[in-house]
Subunit: 144 residues, 2 copies
Amino acid sequence: MQEHEKIFENFLKIKDLKLTKPRKIILNTVFATHEHFSVDELYDQIRKKHKDVSRATIYRTIPLLVESDLIKQSLRCLAKDHYEHTYGHDRHFHLICEKCGKIIEVESKKAENILNKLAKIHNFDIKEYNVGAKGICKNCRKKI
Amino acid sequence: MQEHEKIFENFLKIKDLKLTKPRKIILNTVFATHEHFSVDELYDQIRKKHKDVSRATIYRTIPLLVESDLIKQSLRCLAKDHYEHTYGHDRHFHLICEKCGKIIEVESKKAENILNKLAKIHNFDIKEYNVGAKGICKNCRKKI
DNA sequence: AACTAATTGCAAATAATTCTCAATCGCATT
DNA sequence: AATGCGATTGAGAATTATTTGCAATTAGTT
Ligand SMILES: [Mn+2]
Ligand SMILES: [Mn+2]
Ligand SMILES: [Zn+2]
Ligand SMILES: [Zn+2]
């Protein structure tokens, strides 16, 4: 059993919920790649192998995955909301190319520290970061 | 005529569009306060005085205001998208309290610089920043 | 195997946004 | 001030994204 399965199962157990087949399929699809995904993309991906998992269950499972800290909502500056699994990955920011959609992930303890300091000044307790920028990537700039 | 009206009119003129009555009403409502607003909140605000402006026109005008750099989409970590007028205001980040909804605006050239440097490393051209954090504010923490 | 509460898929409901279109507006020209 | 014409509008229909109600099914327990 994979680490993320254990974590999810424990999380569910505490809430008297069960790691059912559909939930396991959703979880494992999410952890099969490190792509950022919309609900629809996830649905399509899952449907390739499992014709019996419904959109409703995906919509019902995502909040559980978020609450258990296995995935996060990220890239909220695109048209659709996107998620990504974050368990096993360090916190990072996103540079999103408006032309080609490319996503560059960037880590920066420095930036984190600054945000933390700013929060401290205001006596604010940060639970979740939401940092990114939209623009044009290297390759797309060349083309202009 | 206010500065923002002039800017909007110029912007529109270049595109062979007109600063019509509804557009003027929407623009001026947006610039009447520095609140962050959802489309619905803006609609309600406008409707207090102008029963004849439709949702459709608001939805059609917002992209024009964004394109003319008078307003920006911000607070993309709440359920609904929110906008704010940014013309006349420095760039800032948002700390959003999950309990009471309070929004703290924070300026930081340092944070901007770091993001810019990170972008530079990746040869990425930032067009728009999207920086914030969710958490618990000072007052709400006391209450726990 | 029987029991029970949680879970599921489906389809209907809701919410947010976009689109269609006929009527109107704004502005330039007569 | 009347005319012409493309841009604009509001109303409501259409679309898209998400949530919900419910009867049938499942997982775990006795
Ligand atoms: Mn990422
Ligand atoms: Mn702001
Ligand atoms: Zn690109
Ligand atoms: Zn608060």
